[in-house]
């Protein structure tokens, strides 16, 4: 045991001494990264990266073996190529021979072998950069270009065909960073065009053997391009010609569409829309005539029967924001009227009264009585009754159809006809030229009826084409009634009311000139006209028919039109009453023509001949033409 212990101790001591003596000394590290290059395929150089030297002076040796032989040679020249390199001269360089190279690092501690590397000189050729790079700017002042020429590196023997070199040129502007590279193949010259006037260029060239590595770039050659102006005269001529051509086309297009452009840029100003103001009279300058139409002969009202005056004034309620068109000159009537409907305001020309219907249940009874008493009996009561029934049916059918077709909800159903007809003036105040929807208006036709079945009342309506009628039926959503209210009016009752109100009622045609919706003009030939007896309740109006004789007397006295006929029965809210002259208009315009469109917005065409039209009509024509719709006036047409 003791001996063993002594041996161990001794051994440890020796180790310790050894370590103490050689502090940190160790064998060298392995050399790495052996790479070899040949500049001309006749010699080559190998470099290695030494490892740690272990703190001791380390020497490096390169050994190589050629293929097929086990003989080991050492590097002949460690100096020529610098530190950690080995240069193989021509004598020891053999092409197409595989060299197996190893680098050994040696110091007093030991040695280290690098990993062996196999090389073949053919595949490690990296030539020197091309030499004598010359860059010239050609003398051509208008179109200068660069002429670059160079020579192959001296070492590379291309003349004997030993090496084949391919060249590449790159250039850039002096202050820029992007190089542009151009391949030059085996040539030794190159031309570069499209230079920047006044710019300074840097040019470099490099080369590569057919199998090998690219050389480094040659040093930059600088050259300055003189100022020049590219005179591309032909280009300018082309541009001018092209622009002129486009200009001509543009002018021609404007000329062709002059009117529509003008209309777009300068929309026509709407004409005056004061009821009673005659444009022609204005132009003639006779103030007396102008204002005479505005005068209401029996103003202030002398009778206590306000209902008479109400004849001249009718408010039609359009639900929600739709407004009624009121007669401007009837402000007084407005006031009196508004006592009945407290929610109306005083604006003329705007009906804002919220009378939903013109006929109400409550007033139904009264109306009935009144109407009965007033009836002059153009027809027998029996006929009337039958007509009424038929009318009821029609109205029902119509309303049903419309309800179905128009798919209007019960609650919020609007009377679409109202807006189209009674929409604010601007819509209809457009000049005739400005008809927005001629095609739409083209759909209007002298259609007469939706309320009357052909069988029941053949004499009372004109027959337009059956197709139109059909179309009208389907689109006759005017019949759709607004159920907004508690629905004082049934369709039935409404119809009933109508019937009560007039003998043969041609109710509810609406014609919609230029209406945005698909409105059809329905013209039932009016056989009798009604006038508003009174406005009984908030939402009702009492109608009574007017005898022809009454009409005549009235029409003579009133210049403005006073009688209206029921144009349409709004579902439960309203009754569209049409002014007489408008109806006259309709008559005169049947069959439907394009001109009609341009005139009053309400002018369906009647096929009846106009009779008993008073002279006031021309004025109304004008007014209607200007787009003013006066529903307040009522008048009757002679029965037919």
């Amino acid at each position: 045991m003791k001996k063993v212990g002594e041996v161990v101790l001794l051994w440890l001591l020796i180790l310790f001494i050894q370590n103490a003596a050689g502090e940190g000394y160790s064998p060298p590290g392995k050399p790495t990264n052996i790479s070899c290059r040949s500049p001309e395929k006749e010699t080559f150089t190998c470099w290695w990266k030494p490892g740690s030297d272990g703190g001791l002076p380390t020497t490096y040796a390169l050994y190589y073996r050629k293929e097929g032989s086990q003989r080991v040679f050492e590097c002949p020249d460690y100096k020529t190529a610098g530190k950690n390199s080995c240069f193989f001269s021509k004598n020891v360089t053999f092409v197409w021979v595989n060299y197996n190279i190893t680098v050994v690092a040696t110091n007093s501690r030991g040695r280290a072998f690098s990993d062996p590397v196999d090389i073949d000189v053919v595949y490690i050729v990296k030539p020197n950069p091309p030499e004598e790079v010359v860059v010239n700017v050609t003398e051509d002042k208008d179109w200068p270009f660069l002429q670059v020429s160079w020579k192959p590196p001296k070492m590379a023997d291309t003349r004997s065909g030993w090496i084949t070199l391919f060249y590449e040129v790159r250039l850039k502007l002096e202050n820029k960073n992007k190089w542009e590279e151009v391949s030059a193949g085996q040539r030794k010259t190159l031309q570069i065009y499209s230079l920047r006037s006044g710019g300074t260029y840097e040019v470099q060239v490099r080369c590569k053997p057919d199998h090998g590595f690219w050389s480094e770039w040659s040093p930059s050659s600088r050259v300055k391009v003189p100022e020049y102006f590219p005179q591309e005269r032909s280009m300018w001529i082309l541009i001018v010609v092209f622009a002129a051509f486009i200009l001509v086309i543009f002018i021609w297009m404007v000329y062709m569409n002059f009117h529509s452009v003008k209309r777009y840029l300068l929309p026509p100003v709407p004409g005056p829309k004061i009821k009673g103001i005659d444009k022609q009279l204005l132009k003639s300058g006779k103030s007396e005539d102008i204002f005479s139409s505005l005068v209401v002969s029996d103003f202030p009202p002398t009778t206590s029967n306000y209902e008479d005056f109400l004849v001249q004034y009718l408010e039609v309620y359009v639900p929600e924001e739709r407004e009624l068109i009121m007669d401007e000159g009837k402000d007084l009537q407005d006031d009196s009227f508004k006592t009945e409907n407290s929610t109306c305001d005083n604006d003329s020309g705007r009906g804002s009264c919220d009378s939903h219907t013109l006929l109400t249940d409550k007033g139904g009874g009264d109306k009935e009585d009144g109407q009965q008493s007033d009836q002059e009996g153009s027809q027998a009561e029996a006929d009337t009754k039958s007509q009424e029934e038929a009318l009821e049916e029609e109205l029902l059918a119509c309303s049903h159809e419309n309800l179905q077709s128009s798919n209007i909800s019960n609650e919020k159903e609007k009377v679409k006809s109202w807006p189209s007809l009674f929409s604010p003036l601007p819509q209809y105040s457009l000049s005739p030229v400005n008809r927005p929807n001629p095609p739409k208006t083209g759909q209007q036709h002298c259609l007469s009826d939706s309320l009357f079945t052909p069988n029941s009342m053949p004499s009372y309506f004109t027959q337009p084409g059956p197709s139109t009628r059909k179309g009208f039926r389907s689109n006759y959503w005017e019949c759709s009634f607004d159920h907004k209210q508690s629905h004082p009016l049934h369709p039935q009752s409404a119809a009933h009311e109508h019937l009560q109100a007039q003998n043969d009622l041609n109710t509810a045609h609406v014609d919609y000139m230029g209406a945005p919706l698909d409105v059809h003009v329905l013209n039932v030939r009016p056989s009798e006209y009604v006038e508003v007896q009174r406005v009984s309740v908030e939402d009702g109006v009492l109608l009574h028919p007017i005898s022809p004789s009454q009409e005549d007397s009235r029409t003579l006295s009133h210049q403005t039109e006073d009688y209206s006929r029921v144009r349409m029965v709004n579902n439960d809210n309203g009754l569209l009453l049409l002014q007489r002259d408008a109806i006259e208009e309709e008559k005169s315009m049947c069959p439907y023509q394009e001109d009609v469109v341009s005139r009053a917005s309400i002018t369906p065409t009647l096929q009846n001949s106009v009779t008993g039209i008073n002279t006031a009509l021309p004025i109304l024509d004008e007014m209607a033409a200007s787009g003013y719709i006066d529903t307040a006036t009522m008048f009757g047409l002679p029965t037919h």
Partner: protein
């Protein structure tokens, strides 16, 4: 390329001897085409060698350990510029032809082997076929050049007829059968490079005016 060489030879034959420009131009042309052909052949062999190395021999160490001797090592070839310039034209031409002859059959065999291996994709299989055909065509082209040169008196006619069966038999050794595929590729890559280089040297020696 062969057809163009033939046509140019016919064109050359229409020239009389007195018109030196005519002769030399056509010879230079021939040389160019042959050199192009050999360059392409070498490119293909390089590609094949790289692919083979990539797929079959991932370990780089095998390169060094190839103790092969290429079967063409018996052919003495100049392995330096001086040697290549010192050698006579006829010898150089003969070396080229010997190399081309020596490789014809091994490459054909190689292609047959590769076609059977499923690992070698179609692309490589096409290349090996093209390679073997190119060797054959190149040999015929070089022979045309030799004939042209002999006709022009550029080289004397002491050059043996290497197309003869005796020459073929003499150079045909079965040593190549002992080589594996990889060695074959390695050796042929080098030899094709030699052929290309020798042809260039030959051209610049005989017709240096054009591109040397």
């Amino acid at each position: 390329a062969l057809c163009s060489r033939l046509s140019s030879i016919r064109a050359a034959s229409s020239c009389t001897n007195g018109q030196t420009g005519c002769h030399f131009l056509s010879l230079a042309n021939l040389f160019d085409r042959v050199i192009q052909h050999s360059a392409r052949m070498h490119g293909i062999s390089n590609d094949l060698h790289s692919e083979f190395e990539l797929y079959f021999l991932p370990s780089k160490n095998q390169i060094g350990r190839v103790s092969r001797n290429c079967h063409t090592s018996t052919i003495l070839t100049p392995n330096g510029k001086e040697n290549a310039q010192r050698i006579a034209r006829e010898e150089l031409t003969e070396v080229i032809l010997k190399l081309l002859v020596a490789w014809r059959e091994p490459l054909w065999h190689f292609h047959q082997n590769m076609a059977q291996h499923r690992e070698f994709n179609n692309f490589s299989s096409n290349k090996s076929l093209e390679m073997s055909e190119m060797v054959h065509e190149l040999r015929r082209g070089v022979q045309k050049v030799v004939e042209k040169m002999q006709m022009l008196g550029v080289i004397n006619s002491s050059l043996g007829n290497l197309g003869s069966p005796e020459a073929l038999l003499a150079s045909d050794r079965a040593e190549w059968r002992l080589m594996n595929d990889y060695d074959l590729l390695y050796c042929f890559r080098r030899d094709s490079n030699k052929i290309q280089n020798y042809l260039k040297i030959l051209k610049c020696r005989i017709v240096p005016e054009h591109g040397c």
